[in-house]
Symmetry: C2
Subunit: 232 residues, 2 copies
DNA sequence: GAAGACGCTAATGTATACAAAAATGCGCAC
DNA sequence: GTGCGCATTTTTGTATACATTAGCGTCTTC
């Protein structure tokens, strides 16, 4: 698990370092440090130290930190210093509750606007997910990547930039925590099945159906996560 | 209307300039320019020009602009330049829909956690609102200020920093647009009455009731706004 | 020995100077 | 006369130097 987290981090950093802007790289790399657990909750995020790590000046690091602060990856001490944020169980539950509402809303909007092309993409994407989880040894990395893509496709089909930015932070945060827990294959298969239901709802352009399936999908994920945390 | 908007702007700017940080002042002032309509949609937001206006250097202006961009007050051209964002009718409807969901959720959480002290504050606040709207010539500025405070109290009673930051942008945006329209006294009275219902729901610690009243409150506001826009 | 104040240190906030990229306008060729 | 391409100019992105403020340890005094 430590290995998968750290490889995920270096992969993200490598992808970002390929000719992206300095602030973008700083953002990706610092977030990676937090998500991989290299910087545990409460750790101070000092601008100069981070600038050295990323290899840029303080200016882009500052921009990255402001963004991370807005997305609740970092929080401020009374004196105005930034530290890695600490999410407790209530926070996780809140994140999932907000995701359920907002992604449910996104699904409803998407159902209204879904084009045949977008629907085909979703089907293709979910086929990949099913392939990844059907094996006795599920391909977790593949599942995470394609699952992310599936939800992003719906988000983009919903056609609301506001929703997209609001959800961006929430999805990341929740996925991270999940990455840290062990997956139960049955959960993965169930997830793919729910995606299938979503596709049906989209095909029928049925807003309420889509919203309900998405809400259920995410609330089930919450409980799967909580069960995994408890038994860990 | 133009007068009220511009006085609101200068008041905000003055409040901010009183010993606040440069980035904070820049944020408040630039947002003021956008909200007052001094910078109409599509107007380029050039860093150096804004730095001159605010009287600080480009660095804090940049931070302010990133924040405004994250809150959808500004959007980027393909080339990466910032311009004042243009909200169409769909955007406004989307903002209200998101507000209805998120503030409904906040109200439900608040109902669960409401303390007697917080409840008393809400009652006091709504009394001020009722006083402001009871007169033949309602005190609009007072209403807006107290109404804002009422909703902020609920938000803080909900105890979720995530909700608070998510809603901050949405509330501002919607209020601005409303400021631009003429208020119908009947709407204001209705609004105060709905606040009374909310207080009852909070007193009973009834989550579902609170959520329903809040959702209805905001959706009515949407339609009041749309009617006002049409007949304007 | 404990408590408070003072001064030092380290971190953030701000300004400016420099580099890179993008828009625009001009000129040239077709 | 129009369209394309290059050069100029404007604007944003990044680095660094400076100012300010919060933290923190020590020293003094009661």
């Amino acid at each position: 698990m430590a290995a998968s987290a750290s490889s995920a981090r270096s992969a993200a950093a490598a992808a970002a370092s390929a000719s992206a802007s300095a602030s973008e790289r700083a953002y990706a790399e610092i977030r990676g440090l937090i998500l991989a657990g290299d910087a545990s909750p409460g750790t101070p995020l000092r601008e100069e130290a981070l600038a050295d790590i990323v290899g840029v000046s303080r200016t882009p690091v500052r921009e990255a930190l402001r963004r991370l602060e807005a997305e609740h990856y970092a929080s401020r001490t009374p004196g105005g210093r930034l530290v890695v944020a600490n999410w407790d169980n209530d926070d996780v539950a809140e994140i999932f509750a907000l995701r359920a509402m907002l992604e449910g809303h996104a699904a409803a909007r998407a159902a209204r606007r879904m084009t045949p092309g977008q629907l085909a993409e979703l089907k293709f994407c979910n086929a990949a997910i099913e392939a990844a989880v059907a094996q006795p040894q599920p391909d977790i990395a593949r599942f995470l990547a394609e699952n992310r893509r599936f939800h992003d496709l719906i988000l983009s089909a919903s056609g609301s930039a506001r929703l997209a930015t609001m959800l961006a932070g929430l999805v990341e945060q929740a996925i991270v925590r999940r990455t840290a827990t062990r997956y139960d294959q049955a959960d993965l298969v169930r997830s793919a099945h729910e995606h299938g239901q979503l596709i049906q709802a989209f095909a029928a352009h049925d807003e309420d159906w889509a919203r309900a399936v998405m809400t259920a999908h995410i609330r089930r994920a919450l409980h799967a996560f909580q069960d995994a945390s408890r038994s860990k």
